[in-house]
């Protein structure tokens, strides 16, 4: 019911109808006006801003920013065909893993307006306060994906998100393996978690976080120089809904191609990868190495020419650009 109300208010916005009256909603949804009012309150509790004007009715205060289930219709084949909006959650990836265990639909997308324990690699935090970003995870049950190939979903997602950002005029830099940077600062990231016994991936939970309307003052001091948001780049508040639709659509296409056997995204990733050609430092087996990032291997590994001239391919850990 709440999704239907939000969908109706979105439609009103798209048709330049300013307000939808309580009685109109009550009639359309076949409920009482007081039931409508209760639902509107519940939707507000979910973090959606709804303005009410007496004798006129209701409207969404920021229709382009609403990520509620009723507002999101990605028209995809798989990813996001089941979509759950949560006002807040510990982490969308954790929730995705819980749902995967329970046996949720393939392609389920869980989006949270706020993550209490947004996660990055190895238990690190991902700063994700309410209303400022897009934090979602999709749960995939891939067909015939060997574990050794699963990591390819990271560059695939990076390319898909890059393409969605490019559509809104933002050229993000893809730092190997999972960061989206702008101006050397972190705009977004990807965290992939898989589980499975044996050599086949049973479920993959693919998390994406993008900083959208995050201001310097919202951030803890230590993050101010390392984090950037779309609002800072574009110098205006950005509606999150269009970008979410665009990311889901792009991810849906790339993933369908991937399942069909295409590896074209690797070539695209090579073309876009910001790390290539740079001097980097990284640690492997407790030793620190320096070298120049030369190419991306077909399995997603980063090949580096070390200072001594030898080549080395790295497949895990962090790289620091010098």
């Amino acid at each position: 019911m709440q999704a239907e109300i939000v969908a109706r208010l979105i439609r009103a916005h798209e048709q330049s109808q300013k307000y939808v009256s309580g009685s109109e909603l009550a009639r359309e949804l076949d409920v009482t006006r007081s039931a409508v009012w209760k639902h509107i309150e519940a939707i507000r509790q979910d973090g959606v801003k709804i303005a009410a004007v007496s004798r006129l009715g209701y409207r969404l205060s920021e229709p382009d920013d609403v990520l509620h289930a009723g507002a999101v219709d990605p028209s995809t084949a798989l990813i996001g065909t089941t979509y759950h909006y949560l006002k807040e959650i510990d982490s969308t990836n954790l929730e995705g893993r819980r749902r995967a265990k329970e046996g949720c639909p393939n392609g389920l997308v869980i989006l949270a307006d706020k993550q209490i324990q947004g996660r990055a690699r190895m238990g690190r935090q991902w700063f994700s306060p309410a209303g400022t970003g897009i934090y979602f995870s999709t749960v995939l049950f891939p067909e015939n994906l060997p574990t050794a190939r699963a990591a390819l979903l990271v560059p695939l997602t990076a390319v898909a998100v890059h393409s969605a950002l490019a559509d809104m005029g933002v050229q993000a830099d893809l730092k190997w393996p999972n960061d989206l940077l702008y101006d050397g600062r972190k705009l977004g990231g990807i965290l992939l978690e898989i589980s499975g016994e044996a050599d086949q991936v049973r479920s993959a939970v693919l998390g994406v976080g993008i900083n959208v309307n995050l201001m310097g003052q919202d951030l803890p001091e230590e993050l101010r120089d390392v984090v950037i948001s779309l609002m800072e780049i574009k110098n205006q508040r950005m509606g999150r809904r269009q970008l979410l639709h665009s990311m889901l659509a792009s991810l849906d296409t790339f993933y369908a191609d991937f399942q069909a056997g295409s590896r074209d995204f690797i070539e695209e990733y090579r073309r876009l990868c910001w790390t290539l050609g740079r001097s980097i430092r990284f640690e492997q087996e407790g030793k620190i190495y320096e070298g120049t990032a030369e190419t991306i291997e077909d399995d997603g590994g980063l090949s580096v020419r070390l200072q001594c001239g030898k080549m080395m391919t790295i497949r895990s850990g962090d790289v620091h650009c010098l």
Binding site: M122, G123, A148, V154, I194, E197, A198
Partner: protein
């Protein structure tokens, strides 16, 4: 050819893009294959006598002994970094002597920000943990020995 020569060849193979190196002199033949180059075929859940792993045939140094009957070796399903705990300050998933259930997480292997939680395929007691925390592991490298209960 002596052991040093073989080690030089292993090193050369490791740093090259080759996946296999065959060296034949007179009646001696040495075949080196790279573990990481192979897509997994299956992760053994039970004991087999299969020693034709893709380990270099010359390298025998710290290869674990064959597991006894009733013991299951959990191997790495991918190349990556082995972590015994979900976060640096967290308790390890399992310790030697712990009883684990089917589906219980044993460790994480990380590669390219893919976190792969490896689950136990059997119910049993952890007898050995064969890899060190935060160390790289190769495809099919043995990680745990579990005694089935």
């Amino acid at each position: 050819m002596n052991l040093d020569d073989i080690q030089i060849l292993i090193k050369a193979l490791e740093e090259s893009s080759l996946v296999e190196l065959v060296w034949e002199v007179d009646d001696a033949k040495l075949i080196l294959k790279k573990a990481a180059a192979y897509t997994p075929i299956s992760v053994p859940t039970a004991v087999t006598g299969d020693v034709e792993k893709s380990q270099p045939e010359a390298a025998v140094s710290d290869a674990p002994t064959e597991p006894a009957a009733g013991q299951v070796v959990i191997e790495a399903p991918m190349v990556g970094t082995f972590y015994r705990a979900p976060a640096p300050d967290a308790e390890p998933y399992v310790r030697v002597g712990d009883i684990v259930e089917v589906g219980q997480p044993l460790c994480i292997i990380e590669a390219m920000k893919l976190m792969n939680e490896i689950e136990s395929e059997v119910r049993g007691k952890v007898l050995e943990i064969l890899a060190d925390n935060a160390q790289p592991v190769e495809y099919s490298q043995p990680l745990f020995v579990i005694e089935q209960i």
